[in-house]
């Protein structure tokens, strides 16, 4: 079976006025379905840039990137929105829930606006997801009425509502305390095991990194040669 993500010599150059910023300088890797992958590295090393490319929010300057069998740089803006809606769930560092919608409505949102789903099925999916992330009791609350950890649970449920092949999370625990961070990562891992959805997340936090099956270290836009330690979990639990 083809890997879920194939990256070959990925280069991303930002044009900041006169100055060129080489955010990614030839990155190659493959990620299989059902993996729990972490990209780590110092600030400015290119983690966000890489996740944006994988998530088809942005396109590479050169190199090849195939996600779920699709060369995403060949899609136009509308097609990329559609591609994200069908294949990718996104979790944000600061949760980014829609403030005017309740917890339930936030999780339901993609099933109405992104991947329209019949009401009965929609309600079933939302209830099950709320149960899975442990947020059922907050269902009718608005985002400003719940804690950071609860918000991120809602965000995870929202990302999973369309049953994507891949969930991307850029520093999902950066705004959470240590204990909550660990619980959120555990939850993501558990959901990966239950649903078979692949997760790719970036983080600074070594304690969070240690939960990953596969760990990639970025430095100055390049992948560090994998060490024995950080490939330990490769191909591990599915």
């Amino acid at each position: 079976m083809q890997p879920l993500v194939i990256a070959k010599d990925l280069v991303k150059i930002y044009q900041a006025g006169e100055v060129e910023v080489k955010a990614l300088r030839g990155v190659s890797f493959e990620i299989d379905s059902g993996q729990f992958v972490s990209f780590t590295g110092p600030s400015g090393s290119g983690k966000t840039t890489l996740l944006n490319l994988i998530g088809s929010l942005d396109v590479q300057t050169s190199g090849e990137l195939i996600v779920a069998g699709q060369a995403v740089n060949q899609l136009n803006i509308r097609q990329r929105a559609n591609f994200r809606g069908n294949n990718i769930g996104i979790i944000f560092q600061d949760f980014n829930l829609i403030p005017v919608l309740t917890v339930r409505e936030n999780i339901e949102y993609p099933l109405l606006m992104v991947k329209p789903t019949p009401a009965a099925e929609r309600h079933k999916i939302v209830s099950e997801l709320m149960e899975k992330v442990g947020i059922t009791e907050q269902a009718e609350k608005f985002p400003n009425q719940i804690s950071g950890g609860q918000k991120q649970r809602v965000a995870i449920a929202r990302a999973l509502s369309t049953a994507p092949k891949l969930v991307l999370a850029d520093e999902p625990t950066a705004n959470l305390d240590k204990a909550t961070s660990t619980r959120i990562i555990d939850l993501m891992k558990e959901l990966k095991n239950q649903l078979g959805t692949s997760f790719i997340f970036s983080t600074h936090d070594p304690r969070v990194v240690s939960h990953a099956d596969v760990i990639y270290v970025l430095e100055d836009g390049q992948l560090q040669t994998p060490t024995a330690e950080n490939t330990m979990g490769h191909g591990g639990s599915k």
Partner: protein, 409 residues
């Protein structure tokens, strides 16, 4: 309609701003409704003052008569056979309520001591009352006209020191150039009205025929009243069509039909009122457009990160656009609704207050503002259309935001 729900919630979230925007739009709508209903009632009132107190809605003359109206020429008058033809044509048109025959004549009026020029309209009293129902109301002293009597305009009565029951002599030159006179009794004093024939005196048409030694029936003008003043153009066209074929020995058309508008300078004022109504509407459109664009651009700017989020999770640009279009639409609908209700209530209040105004010599004319359903619907339609227009640009901007850029916010 998830877009509509989110749009509604976003408006609800910004209660103060939403309230302010709705108020601004509503204020504009109220201004339009109040102005057009008041101006409209003022206009209608003035029009009916003019048509109902002297002109009638339509007038028929011999061709060329109106251009030389100042001299009231007796050689440009309709002959008996013309009158028969005209009566036949008028009988065919069901929208006509009635008509009256008039002879207009310039005369000398004497109280045996002093003499003055006076223009007279010689009328059929019964038909005249039907065509110009406000005429009897202009009589301030005495009563309406009978044969052998004269209704004097107040200025002439004052000038010659005449009152009800005074005897006067009227002297006129007939079509052959010979002079004749007759003595008449003043039946009443009539108030002057605004308009070209507002200072005329009135005598009975039979007295005029004797005075002018007319053997057959001849008249200067026929004034016509319609059942519905709004049907003016329709009736005018029908009548013109019916009279088109009637020509004199030289092959020229005998009749000329004029609507009241062509006979009164007041028509310009009426047009100006219409123009001002349009002007107020343009201001309304501008207010709505600017406030909607402003508030929507503000919303897009404030919610950039939210837009980035929903775009990132795959919301198509068209749905993002619809989110903001709905917001604008709701603001427009709410503004139009509040404005229409407030405007309607205010119009009823003005009506209930029975405000009066004076116009020309007549005062205590009741101001009766009317607001038609069609005006309210048209205003609503325009407001909603304009809010949509105002929301399109900000909504499009939102839909085109780059999610990566927007999320950095």
């Amino acid at each position: 309609m998830e877009s509509a729900r989110i749009a509604f919630r976003n408006l609800y979230r910004q209660k103060r701003r939403t309230g302010l925007t709705v108020s601004i739009i509503a204020f504009g709508v109220v201004a339009v409704i109040l102005f057009s209903s008041l101006a409209g009632s003022f206009k209608n009132m003035m029009i009916s003052q003019i048509t109902d107190s002297m002109l009638g809605h339509l007038q028929v003359h011999r061709s060329g008569y109106v251009e030389s109206l100042d001299t009231m020429p007796l050689n440009m008058i309709m002959e008996e056979k013309h009158i028969d033809q005209l009566k036949k044509a008028l009988a065919e048109i069901s929208e006509i309520e009635g008509y009256t025959l008039r002879i207009l004549l310039g005369t000398l009026l004497s109280n045996y001591a002093d003499t003055t020029n006076i223009k007279l309209s010689a009328i059929e009293p019964g038909n005249e009352k039907l065509v110009t129902p406000l005429l009897p109301g202009r009589i301030t002293q005495g009563k309406f006209l009978e044969k052998g009597q004269i209704l004097l305009p107040n200025l002439v009565a004052r000038g010659l020191d005449l009152g009800v029951a005074s005897e006067v002599v009227v002297i006129a030159t007939n079509v052959d150039g010979s002079v004749n006179g007759t003595s008449l009794i003043v039946s009443g004093i009539v108030e002057t009205a605004v308009g070209p024939s507002g200072k005329y005196g009135y005598i009975h048409i039979d007295d005029a025929r004797e005075l002018l030694r007319m053997e057959s029936l001849q008249v200067s003008e026929v004034a016509i009243r319609l059942k519905d003043a709004e049907k003016l153009t329709l009736v005018m066209n029908k009548l013109q069509t019916a009279l088109k074929g009637i020509t004199d020995d030289k092959g020229k058309p005998v009749f000329e039909v004029h609507p009241w508008k062509a006979l009164s300078p007041f028509n310009n004022i009426a047009n100006m009122i219409d123009l001002m109504t349009i002007f107020i509407q343009v201001i309304l459109v501008t207010i709505v457009l600017i406030s909607i664009m402003n508030v929507m651009l503000m919303a897009v700017y404030e919610r950039t990160k939210e837009i980035g989020t929903i775009a990132a999770i795959g919301t198509p640009p068209s749905s993002i656009m619809s989110l903001f279009i709905f917001e604008g639409l709701f603001l427009g609908i709410a503004g139009a609704a509040v404005g229409n209700i407030t405007g309607w209530v205010l119009v009823q209040a003005v009506k209930a207050a029975e405000m009066t105004i004076s116009f020309g010599q007549s005062d205590n004319i009741l101001l009766a503002p009317q607001i038609s359903l069609s005006t309210m619907l048209a205003t609503t339609f325009i407001v909603i259309l304009v809010t949509l227009l105002g929301a399109i640009e900000p909504a499009y901007k939102a839909s085109q935001l780059d999610p990566v850029e927007a999320l950095r916010n």
